[in-house]
Symmetry: C2
Subunit: 331 residues, 2 copies
Amino acid sequence: MTDITMIEAAAKRLKGHARRTPLLSSPFLDEIAGRRVFVKPECLQHTGSFKFRGAWSALSALDPAVRTKGVIAFSSGNHAQGVALAARMHGVPSVIVMPYDAPHLKIDNTRALGAEVVLYDRFGEDRDAIGETLSKERGLTLIKPYDEPLVIAGQGTTGLEIAEQAAHEGIDKADVIVCCGGGGLTSGIALALEARAPGLRARPAEPENFDDATRSLLSGNIETNASGNQSICDAIVTPSPGQITFPIMQRLCGPGIVATDEECLKTMALAFLRLKIILEPGGAIALASALFHQDEIKGDAVICVASGGNVDADVYQDALRKYGTPNPTDS
Amino acid sequence: MTDITMIEAAAKRLKGHARRTPLLSSPFLDEIAGRRVFVKPECLQHTGSFKFRGAWSALSALDPAVRTKGVIAFSSGNHAQGVALAARMHGVPSVIVMPYDAPHLKIDNTRALGAEVVLYDRFGEDRDAIGETLSKERGLTLIKPYDEPLVIAGQGTTGLEIAEQAAHEGIDKADVIVCCGGGGLTSGIALALEARAPGLRARPAEPENFDDATRSLLSGNIETNASGNQSICDAIVTPSPGQITFPIMQRLCGPGIVATDEECLKTMALAFLRLKIILEPGGAIALASALFHQDEIKGDAVICVASGGNVDADVYQDALRKYGTPNPTDS
């Protein structure tokens, strides 16, 4: 099971391969949030999201004889790109099973990074069966997106950096809000903070109608989202927290925060204006929580993990058209 | 006159106040450029451009009794914001004289950062006379945008970071392309590289019709741009290189590179797609030079300084509408 030793071992394997992202801030955002806001921009990570960390962690730990046959992953996009690049950098083949309706940019990038992309219908086909057939035929190793200790350890390296960077800013007590799908990033960061910055507490942020982690933390059981809902936060619309990630979150995380799609669009525009980084909707939800749900947060500082920036240009233009011109309430 | 000792002294004064920006890259950009491309994203600096470095350097070196009366600056935008924030962080007043037609975002931000903004007509009024009157009345110290040794020293700290980061990437010989207006950033970086990474060579990048530095380097004299031209690169449309910056550039810089507005828009979209950073047109021109003028560059690696990201949402949407969807030639 993932622990601080595994996370630090992952950090050693990632050194020189993954990017150490900075901690950003803006007086304009502090004013909106009513406290100091720090943003960990994992959109600046290789492939535009934190997923490269977990993918590298898992691939670099494989037995070379196994790794050389290749890897397979299921992903709506960010995990796909992370695995594709990590495989290419290791010189091994990758197959990525992606839903037809994933953002074009994510599908195109995954292919351009050298992966073989197999598309399936999220509402009609069984992706696990597709994946199992391919794995058996070719001897591919499955890299799970979150419910895998080595992946959680890789994502946890983000938490090691946050612990150091927060100390440098003089912050020893604060919430660390994390964009949460299956909980790999949230649980990895929670484990790193427990060991290296016990005054910092991870909290999941989720979209409306996809608040499975938030409800699971409240009930104490793994809850599932109702089917049939939509959200622009494509990166984090997983049905429920993982079997491995949930117990970690239950032990270590503060309450979840739920933000709307519209709040995410507004946050994307504020990140354009104030931080000069590209956020995708799901990558904006932690910062959206800090900016627009300030009553649910305590303390004079908050840290938000901005998990990714792989957004299609048309969605991004929507955000700018609606919210890209600052008004007096924003500044 | 600015030298490496002044730059290193500025780096000490900036430590803990200015941000150390990372060095970014993308395999997609490497492919377009035909060599490894590294980007120093000064858009992630405080106030969204490198100008904060020079402003902080100058303000922090003032005699406190003088500084407390306040400072004044002339600027189309980025220097304005840098001076405004540096003044606010020092607890002193600032007055910024800006052209009416500067981007709204830059004017609004300068005001929101606590400066008193005085607008003037670039084509009718004498900004120097306006500034001189205000300075005399209130005892304000003028912070020049580039022809000032302490400002050049502050911008030069970017070059110290590049020297370290290039060594870390194993690059000991490469061109460092720098977005060039009056030459403060270019000459500061050139001085830092001369002392700390002599195999790296600074080269100015400029917009069509505003290629004064490029022509000055060719002729050996300070050349001036014809009046009446327009460019979307508002940050770097100065009329000529400075009296102090030009001799430094002449001694140390390689030939200039001239890129078109359209190449800048295309580069802004590529930075959206591949680096997840916001570039303004003038901030994109060094990377545009590396991507679209590769025949003018030698070596297997190139470093580009992306100087700022303060762009109005409508210009940014233009870039995305035209070039925001990748096509086969981009990847």
